[in-house]
Assembly symmetry: C2
Homo-oligomer: 149 residues x 2
């Protein structure tokens, strides 16, 4: 390596720090979920359905920060594994509300525990008040960038 990883001018950027933290979290989550044969988008999909039963494909896509098409593929994979269930016909409009199967709930319980362990490790250096403050600061960043979100 031609340059040391030492504190450089770039580490002073909050945007770079944000990306670094998100990348580290993503990598760690991926490693934690690998033993359950789940990718991060798949886990996010399950978690979203569990917290908001009846969510549509488009809603899930927005919640997981991917396109509808990608979420559609994720959803199909989860359906093939009998982890989520969607009605064949739309009860209202075109949206197909997704729900977890018992197997899905069971797998999610394990996955959620693994992810929570990761988050706990990330937040270990912080007090409860500091965690709350960090959460609030991140939400403020989002609001400043996308007021309509």
């Amino acid at each position: 390596m031609a340059q040391a990883e030492a504190v450089g001018p770039l580490d002073e950027s909050v945007g770079y720090g944000l990306k670094r933290a998100a990348a580290a979290l993503r990598t760690t989550m991926d490693a934690a979920l690998r033993s359950l044969d789940l990718t991060v988008p798949q886990y996010a999909c399950l978690e979203l359905i569990a917290r908001h039963p009846g969510l549509s494909n488009a809603d899930l896509a927005r919640g997981a920060f991917v396109t509808r098409q990608s979420m559609n593929l994720v959803l199909r994979g989860l359906q093939d594994r009998d982890l989520v269930a969607r009605p064949a016909t739309a009860p209202r409009g075109r949206a197909l509300p997704s729900r977890l199967t018992p197997a899905g709930e069971e797998l999610l319980a394990a996955a959620s525990a693994a992810v929570r362990a990761v988050e706990l490790r990330m937040l270990a250096p912080f007090s409860a008040a500091e965690q709350e403050r960090l959460l609030h600061d991140l939400a403020t960043c989002v609001r400043a960038l996308a007021p309509d979100a």
Copy 2:
């Protein structure tokens, strides 16, 4: 939409907030750089080279959180546009130190200003001390997840 975007149990997760903030930043940066015909990885590559001249492809890849192969493609695209220059032969080992061309420095100046404007907008609600604190908190998260980083 079957469910409102209201404050749900998921918004209490710091990990989710982190991903949301990173996604919002990424989207906003992408929009700001589109007029300069630059993608976020391309901008990151230019910025890294500018701050650490002589960086190798592998170093750039680590700094931009992508693989060497992806960064190699980015680097070629920038070379084809005469924005960065790399020697044909390695002066030492196999690493080819990258440097900005005058055109690259010029374009980077505009891109850097655009990105700084985005970051300023994101950080507008924060005081200088709060910005510093947020930056420190993010670095702490990274350290907790990847002690060797």
